[in-house]
């Protein structure tokens, strides 16, 4: 293969690249072949010594496609930025609404937990107080009324102890659930950040 044939072939293999890039590359290889010939190599040997055209084209295109994909990435990044700025009036209220909803959900979950414990406490306290009342009534109104009141109070105390365990478990699962909720919300935002 002559030098001209080699350069023509190379040109066609890298034709997808920008014109100035092709020109630079052709100059480089043309020089390399001439330098070899100057050293005394025959033209054909000099061309053969340069190596395979496919290999050369592959290296150049690889190098350039890395550059292109980086440029592309930058472009999409700036598109995201422009969208974020232009969409500001739209996404700010949306984000606020979203945040408020999350907060309300979170608060209501904890309110449920609080309410359930209040019920337990109410049963327990009423029970204890009723025991006292029962003892007093036992002396004031006789053993039947007093006994009944003490009985009811014991039932209440027992009830509060019985419902304590399932409520504890319920509260635990709700706390877990709210943690998961927070994590999910965080995930949504972090993922958005990565895209932007």
């Amino acid at each position: 293969m002559t030098k001209d044939q080699f350069l023509k072939k190379l040109n066609s293999k890298i034709s997808i690249l920008p014109q100035n890039e092709i020109a630079k590359c052709i100059t480089f290889y043309s020089e390399s072949i001439e330098d070899r010939m100057e050293e005394g190599m025959k033209e054909e040997d000099a061309v053969a010594d340069i190596g395979s055209i496919d290999e050369i084209a592959k290296e150049i295109i690889n190098e350039n496609s890395i550059k292109y994909s980086l440029d592309k990435e930058k472009k999409t990044k700036s598109v995201w930025k422009i969208l974020a700025i232009c969409g500001f009036p739209l996404w700010l209220p949306l984000a606020l609404a979203f945040g408020a909803t999350g907060l309300v959900l979170y608060i209501s979950l904890w309110t449920v937990v609080l309410a359930l414990y209040t019920v337990v406490l109410a049963f327990g306290l009423t029970g204890v107080l009723l025991i006292l009342a029962g003892v007093i009534q036992f002396y004031r109104m006789g053993p039947i009324t007093g006994g009944m009141i003490i009985g009811i109070s014991l039932v209440l105390c027992g009830l509060s102890l019985v419902i304590m365990k399932p409520i504890n478990q319920f509260a635990k699962s709700i706390i877990k659930c709210s943690g998961q909720l927070l994590k999910n919300i965080k995930k949504i935002f972090i993922r958005k950040k990565e895209v932007a």
């Binding site: 480089f28 020089e31 390399s32 150049i60």
Partner: protein, 104 residues
């Protein structure tokens, strides 16, 4: 050898060759080839990258009634060699450590 490592080493070799004077494509290939395998197809992207990172400057000069591109190392390029040597002091320490353990 790992491709990334090889590429990094080649960059420094090219810079080192240029510390001995401005040079051109074919001569760089010949000089570097004494130490590590290199061809024009690998050298070309390396020169491009080094130029983009301001590690070297390109100028054209007439030679035997034709034009030839010469590459000249810049201060940034010299710093890059220094950084490489410093970095490899650390790599060598780790290498020694790994080798010692191997002999146990």
């Amino acid at each position: 050898m790992d491709i990334q490592l090889r590429r990094g080493l080649l960059e420094i070799c090219v810079l080192k060759v240029l510390t001995k004077g401005d040079s051109y494509g074919y001569r760089i290939v010949k000089d570097v080839s004494k130490y590590i395998l290199i061809s024009e197809s690998t050298l070309y992207p390396i020169l491009k990258r080094l130029e983009k990172n301001n590690c070297l400057k390109v100028y054209t000069e007439e030679h035997n009634s034709r034009l030839r591109k010469y590459y000249k190392i810049t201060n940034i390029g010299l710093e890059k060699i220094e950084d490489f040597l410093k970095e490899w002091d650390e790599v060598l320490k780790v290498y020694q450590f790994i080798k010692e353990n191997d002999n146990d």
